[in-house]
């Protein structure tokens, strides 16, 4: 029998085939398409207004200045406040951190219970939960305003955190449920024979095996909540507006001249957090998605 374990013969030459030229051509064009706006933003944010008025948006700055970044962070005015985006940044941190932590904890326990501790009606419960994610947000805005008002937390950080936690539930529960159901059922059974209970199995058996899916959930939630605009503007007051709302207010402020350099800098500052999260954990993210998120 032929030995098939190693490739034989000369390696096929393939560098300049038509296929590759087309492939890399398209990849190149796509990269330019996406990178060009970023390039323009960075360049503009490093120019002063005099230079911007001269016109060429593609030209690199003659004189590099970081003042627009400083201004965007600490001095730009929205309404009566003139402390830039920094206020919004800290608001966003205070909104995102608890929302992410609470929603992931609750959803992971949900998913675990739905897979391993099925109760009467657990399938119905799950179906309703998933169904909830198909209702457009706009329909629910007003009822939620009323609910928050009745609970006395309308316009507070707590109220917004609760809303984010609840709206993250369907997709996160689905994510965790699918992941946990991809783990072998016999492990769970073995742990039960070994006398571990609901929390014992969750913390000692399931958690250590589920890091990839927690990373996925973390990224989804951090970017989703950080980038949220709608809930922030509807459910909070100006002092606690998240960064996205603040950004909008800076960029769209009608008084005075449009400071394009400050706007560009502010936009990039706002996008920085999700960007960093992606860069730091991109690999883990892909691995986690592959590990369990795709299985029905």
């Amino acid at each position: 029998m032929a030995d098939l374990s190693n490739p034989r013969g000369t390696r096929p030459k393939s560098r300049f085939t038509l296929n590759n030229i087309v492939l890399y051509g398209i990849l190149g064009l796509m990269s330019i398409y996406y990178l060009l706006p970023l390039y323009v933003m960075v360049m503009t944010s490093l120019k002063d207004m005099a230079e911007i008025r001269m016109g060429n948006i593609f030209a690199p700055p003659v004189e590099v200045t970081f003042h627009p970044w400083v201004k965007a962070w600490a001095e730009a005015c929205t309404g009566l406040n003139c402390d830039g985006l920094s206020r919004g940044f800290w608001n966003s941190v205070m909104i995102t951190v608890p929302s992410v932590i609470i929603s992931i904890i609750v959803a992971s326990v949900n998913g675990y219970a739905l897979v391993n501790w099925k109760f009467k009606g657990s399938e119905v419960f799950f179906t309703i939960l998933i169904f909830g994610s198909f209702i457009p947000y706009q329909i629910m805005l007003y009822p939620i305003v009323i609910i928050l008002r009745e609970l006395g937390i309308y316009g507070t950080l707590g109220g917004l955190i609760m809303v984010h936690t609840i709206f993250g539930m369907p997709i996160l529960t689905l994510l965790f449920r699918n992941y946990f159901s991809s783990l072998p059922e016999e492990l769970f059974k073995a742990a039960r024979v070994d006398g571990a209970g609901f929390w014992g199995i969750y913390f000692q058996i399931m958690l250590p095996m589920s890091m990839p899916i927690f990373v996925v959930a973390l990224i989804l939630q951090i970017t989703g909540i950080w980038n949220d605009f709608l809930f922030g503007v509807v459910f909070t007051k100006p002092e606690i507006y998240p960064m996205t709302v603040q950004l909008n207010n800076i960029v769209n402020s009608v008084q005075g001249v449009k400071e394009y350099n400050v706007n560009m800098a502010a936009t990039m500052l706002t996008g920085l957090v999700p960007l960093i999260v992606y860069f730091v954990s991109g690999k883990l993210f892909v691995r986690g998605i592959a590990a369990g998120a795709v299985k029905g």
């Binding site: 059974k189 742990a191 024979v193 070994d194 006398g195």
Partner: protein, 359 residues
């Protein structure tokens, strides 16, 4: 005889599907019971019910004369070994072995003592600080058995523990499980697909079909006197031959087409006459010869043979029905030959064609 396990009228439904139907099972202390049956007949389900991993619909389960029907799995005095090993991947072998003991708040030195003993019995001392991923299949299954062993329980439940291993390892571990049983002398309930495992390990075999135990008896009994057609066809490899015929002459003979066989010496008393009967003959209980003996042989034509090493399985046509015979390789007849099959009626089984029960 003290009871180790008693299952009384056990019923289990998944929704509207009834998987176990009024199942009864009495297991004596120290007995090795093998559950054998086709896929989907409810073997694992029964085992999971015994372990307390499934809530049963009706009935009672007693272990060691205690009603454990609603007891937690860990409180039943059982240890379980799974087909997929189910070792906790993030823990070392030692961690796997001690997990249950820690949950049961067993003192530290006692845990060490039990792990040392299990490791010695299963010869896994050098593996104690490895993770399961760094073990071979056979080693993993040893650790899985060890996890049941350290629990110091009276009842071991095995769900196809060897079916993920290759043939050679399977044979090795099979012997080891037998040795373990004779050393520990605890009760074992063992699920398998493999007839050889069943026949070699079991004190008694329970043949299951469709959630019902068809026959529960010693391996030889099941092999020689299967209660019905299903059990007869399920046990034995190569499978039993079935030839249609009729019991005549007041139960003194069975008519197979033109041929007639004398039923004197049939194991099961003298059957009553019936027009629709089935004669079951194992391939190893037939011999091929070239002369007829009225009342003891049936004429046949050789069709083909399958060499199986020392033996050869010869296929013949008897009254338009296929019959296989096991013969030593060098004694196999030539194709197309007209021969006579000598039947050892004391080892045959006769079944009623309508009830399918042995008569």
């Amino acid at each position: 005889m003290t009871h180790s396990i008693q299952v009384k009228d056990l019923k289990l439904d998944f929704g509207s599907v009834s998987v176990l139907k009024n199942l009864n099972l009495d297991v004596a202390e120290g007995e090795f019971i093998v559950l054998l049956g086709p896929s989907g007949c409810g073997k694992s389900t029964l085992l999971n019910c015994l372990a307390g991993l499934l809530d049963i619909t009706d009935g009672e389960i007693w272990i060691k004369n205690k009603n454990v029907t609603w007891a937690e799995p860990s409180d039943r005095g059982i240890g379980m070994v799974f087909q997929s090993y189910a070792l906790y991947p993030q823990m070392t072998v030692r961690g796997n072995l001690s997990f249950g003991l820690k949950n049961a708040k067993v003192p530290k030195d006692e845990i060490d003592r039990r792990i040392a003993r299990a490791a010695e019995i299963l010869q896994i001392q050098p593996l104690l600080d490895r993770k399961p991923a760094a073990l071979s299949g056979g080693q993993r299954q040893r650790v899985a058995i060890g996890r049941a062993l350290v629990r110091d329980v009276d009842v071991f439940l095995f769900d196809e523990p060897l079916s993920n291993l290759d043939a050679k390892l399977r044979a090795e571990l099979r012997v080891e499980i037998k040795r373990l049983h004779s050393r520990l002398n605890n009760t074992m309930i063992y699920v398998t697909h493999d007839q050889i495992e069943a026949l070699t390990l079991a004190d008694r075999i329970a043949i299951m079909r469709g959630g019902i135990i068809q026959q529960l008896a010693a391996p030889q009994e099941i092999y020689n006197r299967p209660v019905n057609l299903f059990v007869a066809g399920f046990i034995g490899s190569p499978a039993m031959n079935f030839i249609k015929g009729a019991v005549v002459d007041n139960g003194r003979s069975i008519k197979l087409g033109e041929a007639k066989l004398d039923l004197a010496g049939y194991d099961g008393g003298q059957p009553t006459d019936r027009p629709q009967a089935i004669l079951g003959l194992r391939p190893e209980h037939l011999t091929i010869q070239d002369h007829a003996e009225p009342g003891h042989t049936i004429p046949a034509v050789v069709e083909l043979d399958e060499p199986m090493g020392a033996d050869s399985l010869v296929w013949l046509m008897v009254q338009g029905q296929q019959v296989s015979v096991r013969v030593p390789f060098e004694k196999r007849p030539t194709k197309g030959a007209q021969v006579h099959l000598k039947v050892d009626i004391s080892k045959a089984s006769i079944f009623d064609a309508t009830t399918e029960l042995r008569v």
